[in-house]
Assembly symmetry: C2
Homo-oligomer: 291 residues x 2
Amino acid sequence: MVESLEQLKARVTSYLDTHLANDVDQSTLAASMQYSVLAGGKRLRPTLTLATVEIFGGELTEDVVRAATALELLHTYSLIHDDLPAMDNDDLRRGAPTNHRKFGAGMATLAGDGLLTLAFQWVTDNQLPATMKSQLALELAKAAGPAGMVAGQARDIEGTGRRLTLDQLRYLHRQKTGALLRYAVLAGGIITVQPAAVQRLLAQFGSSYGLAFQIYDDLMDVVGTTTAMGKRVGKDAAEHKNTYPGLLGVTGAEEQLQQALERAKNAQAALSQLTGRSFAAYDDFLAYFKL
Amino acid sequence: MVESLEQLKARVTSYLDTHLANDVDQSTLAASMQYSVLAGGKRLRPTLTLATVEIFGGELTEDVVRAATALELLHTYSLIHDDLPAMDNDDLRRGAPTNHRKFGAGMATLAGDGLLTLAFQWVTDNQLPATMKSQLALELAKAAGPAGMVAGQARDIEGTGRRLTLDQLRYLHRQKTGALLRYAVLAGGIITVQPAAVQRLLAQFGSSYGLAFQIYDDLMDVVGTTTAMGKRVGKDAAEHKNTYPGLLGVTGAEEQLQQALERAKNAQAALSQLTGRSFAAYDDFLAYFKL
């Protein structure tokens, strides 16, 4: 029986709640890591992995949940470092003070470093086959590293105050947000040992979904409210960040969002056709984008 | 034929020089990562791994060099983040401006994040057996993560200005410096598939060597010069850091250093006896400590 998104999300949060502190050996560091990890959030990335495992009939064993939940550790590190005074200098995240506002920039830097490193521990410290663990660690490193997410962040810093072309902005978004969401979907295929043709379509779905996600995030910074978003809005424009609405206007950005969603749906349909399985669970993820 | 330390070091530096930029996809990020990685340094950690592989008759293939050199990426990340204004706020490293003095704290944070993540990529992105890669990634994550090096850093920040006991200080040093040097030696045993009893002795050698290394570093901060060390000295005392000479005086710290070296030599002798191999190559590493 396939679990709902809410059930999968609850599994992830419960796993984090129970296991995170076990792997941290200093009390302030543990408090700082837990503060951000347990602050809530959609748990979108590990939930995408677990939903994909379920679609392929895989069992959600504790080992699978551990490997999938590693991605939430990694995602949380990226938020903590992104909020630092030396980076975006944000005071508010998920409706609460950011990590460095609570623990200081030094401890926040270490909490991020600890979460990033622990992600690779959780991916490999389980009873899944070694080939699977090694592949997960490699794909996670490529998605999160200096040719993936970290490169996107660097491009974001470097591009701030300069007007990028649409192609440059799409490339930045693919690295900064897309790579990790692409990995989230792909990890479900790795864990259920899918053939290369299926993996390619999973990567395509994840990649298009990730682009849609970042365009939507850009849009919400323009049309959302601080209360609804739990973080300061309107700051992209104030800081001369490159965004889809900044470059194309709200209507133009909405069109690009629709195109990315179309590509995601095409990949979803192709996956159904190729595998004979239902990918209806992905509809719930696509329903996230309400305009 | 066994290579000298200088030859092994040259291999590591040459590998970094040739391969680092290939895995970075943003020019300023690449420059920042290369700036610190190629600034010199003893390459002690990967050299310890490669020397251990050679002792057991293992071949230094390109895959082995890649997996071993990953540790230098990780070590460099720890230096960059440690030097940040939010941490130790250092201006000088290896005789040159620290990364954030050259590239700004935001890019320096990202360069560190990129190097840490790339370390896990290099450990898994090679043709070694999957069981080996998965074990290397796991041990590296445990050594570097929130129950290892990052915990030691947190303990260092938290302990500054408070007087620790000798036991507390030793524990801090084992996490902050010892864990990674322990991994460096252990990795050589993993790559050459040594039995558990040998791995235990390798870990013991690495651990004692790591403690000696940190005590020596503490001592050099008292008795060394800025020119010789390439970094500011005398700063531990100025910043009320907990150190061996601070707690025990120079003579007491030297005694502790000798004890740690004795333990390392005992492990070295036990390794020779158990395996019937010569561990004379470790003598060159032990010769590092000149008082």
